[in-house]
């Protein structure tokens, strides 16, 4: 079982970063964003487009050649593209919906529609082929009690650093407080001089950039697929709910736990030869935990009145 711990940590860090992003957006806007997976995939696909060698003509209907940029620069550009995409979604789609008082369920259905639309645009323009980042293969090494490639170790470390930074920003800055304020009451925030539209825009952009980073992680560890975000979307929801929905710290820990439970369960005796079913055990455990702690691990009980 322990030999799966490395894989579990890696899956965990992907889900964790993506869960923080999802939770941040839900926390401020109350939007359950089913299109979150597509922003994750955008991070990976954009990185692939920016970084693949010029003669690598598999992408984009074979019409556009990739840009062949430095990999790190490609990642940064891709994250910016994701932020821009999230910002555009807010300005041209979700803000008008909010101004027209469209209900939460209707907005949820819009995100489902958006998810299906964008995902199939990827299928059209980026093809259904499984592709890899232009990185050389590395051999796994043993670190402490888990093993992974040096590159994936970097992914893990970067992920943890990013989450600590995000956590600190949310807790200690005026912006983080403004986000919590807008979450509690947009109207009251306005009375306190907060431009809540602006805060929501910043939330969309930062959530989308984090999602893009999660996509780059996922593609670095595994590969790039048109539906890669959709494939882990349910695990991200699970991580968010397990930690306590709307709490960023909870999403971090919940995401890591889900990732570890999914991978470690592969090593269970009765899972021999059934590793495809690995999600079942993790999600079963999640349901059990929620039975005993409905508000999630870090969620707080609300006073109803």
């Amino acid at each position: 079982m322990l030999d799966q711990l490395g894989n579990g940590l890696l899956l965990g860090i992907i889900i964790s970063v993506a869960s923080v992003a999802l939770s941040l957006l839900y926390g401020v806007t109350r939007i359950v964003n089913f299109a979150h997976g597509e922003i994750i995939a955008l991070g990976a696909i954009a990185t692939l487009f920016f970084s693949s060698p010029l003669d690598y003509r598999v992408l984009f209907l074979d019409k556009f050649s990739p840009l062949g940029l430095n990999f790190v620069i490609s990642c940064i550009l891709a994250i910016l593209v994701c932020g821009l995409f999230g910002g555009l979604l807010e300005v041209f789609l979700f803000r008008p919906l909010r101004k027209n008082d469209v209900g939460n369920i209707a907005v949820l259905v819009v995100t489902i529609g958006l998810s299906i639309l964008v995902r199939h645009l990827y299928l059209l323009f980026a093809t259904g082929r499984v592709q890899n980042f232009p990185l050389e293969l590395q051999r796994r090494q043993t670190y402490l009690f888990f093993d992974m490639t040096p590159r994936n170790l970097n992914v893990l470390i970067i992920g943890i650093i990013v989450m600590i930074i995000v956590g600190l920003l949310l807790t200690y800055t005026r912006l983080g407080k403004a986000m919590r304020a807008v979450r509690d009451s947009g109207e009251l925030s306005s009375v306190s001089g907060i431009n809540s539209d602006n805060i929501i825009l910043i939330t969309w952009v930062s959530s989308s950039m984090l999602a893009g980073l999660a996509g780059i992680f996922q593609a670095t560890i595994n590969d790039v697929r048109w539906n890669m975000g959709f494939l882990i979307l349910l695990l991200i929801f699970a991580g968010t709910v397990l930690g306590g929905i709307g709490t960023s710290f909870g999403a971090m820990v919940g995401g890591l736990l889900i990732g570890i439970m999914v991978q470690v369960s592969v090593g269970l005796p009765f899972m021999e030869g059934h590793s495809e079913a690995k999600n079942a055990v993790a999600l079963g455990i999640m349901i059990l935990i929620l039975l005993f702690r409905p508000q999630g691990i870090f969620g707080k009980k609300e006073r109803i009145s």
């Binding site: 920003l169 200690y172 800055t173 005026r174 912006l175 983080g176 407080k177 403004a178 919590r180 304020a181 979450r183 509690d184 009451s185 109207e187 009251l188 925030s189 306005s190 009375v191 306190s192 001089g193 907060i194 431009n195 809540s196 602006n198 805060i199 910043i202 707080k300 609300e302 006073r303 009145s305």
Partner: protein, 256 residues
């Protein structure tokens, strides 16, 4: 004219066929303590919404300190020094009482992303200076012992007090109070009333919507009466008490 802090000119707002607000001319002077009364559905809260930017009027103009604010967003109006409360009490549920006050009281112009990161230290300094003020206000309102409780854990009356505390910590020029006494026990109502009087004495301009006529008569310097969206009376409490239009609006026309 120049000492009119807020003026309303030909302000109209309707919902479907229902005329919610239709006020020809109304203005409020600096330092006045004015109550707005009227039967249910008279358009009092809509009037508040229109002057605080939460709703846009169909036609007409609202000006604050001589500046037209008819289509100005609420947060900008708040930054101009006009702060309001809500009929259904609103507090930042997931912040502690202290955090509520520090948040509302801190410099409200630095919520951009970069500034919020760059000014991390100055923000802290600002908050530590503010803490003393927050403590003072909390002890004045008898919620000092709740400073570290989450706002969602407060009772209805305590939330009302927190809302008041929150709205005065920034020393607004104008305070719009939407039913400050609703759902509050008599003892607490007394406290709130004396606080409002005290605030008014410090020179804050106060507009208050309130159903408790007795309280209104006691503390107001001026009373404005709305019925079906229109202004039907405007004067000092004693004039309003005997105004036939007002009595009709509340009790219906006397039968012949």
């Amino acid at each position: 004219m120049s000492n009119n802090l807020i003026s309303v000119d030909n302000l109209k707002k309707s919902f479907g066929g229902l005329k919610a607000v239709d006020v020809q001319e109304l203005s409020f002077k600096k330092g006045e303590l004015t109550s707005i009364i009227g039967p249910n559905g008279a358009g009092k809260t809509t009037f508040f919404d229109l002057i605080s930017g939460f709703q846009n009027a169909d036609s007409g103009e609202v000006s604050l300190k001589g500046k037209n604010i008819s289509s100005t967003q609420p947060y900008k109006i708040a930054r101009m020094g006009m702060v309001r409360t809500f009929q259904l009490t609103k507090v930042f549920d997931r912040m502690t009482v202290m955090e509520n006050l520090l948040f509302s009281g801190s410099n409200i112009n630095n919520d951009s992303f970069l500034k919020s990161i760059l000014k991390l230290n100055s923000q802290k300094l600002y908050e530590s200076n503010l803490k003393e003020k927050a403590n003072q206000i909390m002890s004045d309102l008898n919620i000092g012992h709740m400073a570290d409780s989450y706002a969602r854990e407060l009772s209805g009356g305590q939330k009302k007090l927190l809302e008041l505390a929150r709205s005065i910590i920034n020393e607004p020029e104008i305070l719009l109070l939407d039913e400050p006494l609703a759902g509050v026990n008599p003892k607490l109502a007394e406290d709130i009333l004396s606080l409002i009087t005290k605030l008014s004495d410090t020179g804050i301009t106060i507009l208050m919507v309130e159903h408790n006529i007795e309280a209104v008569m006691k503390i107001s310097e001026r009373i404005v009466v709305l019925a079906e969206g229109s202004l039907i009376a405007d004067g000092v409490p004693n004039e309003i008490r005997t105004d036939t239009n007002v009595i009709e609006a509340y009790l219906g026309k006397a039968d012949e």
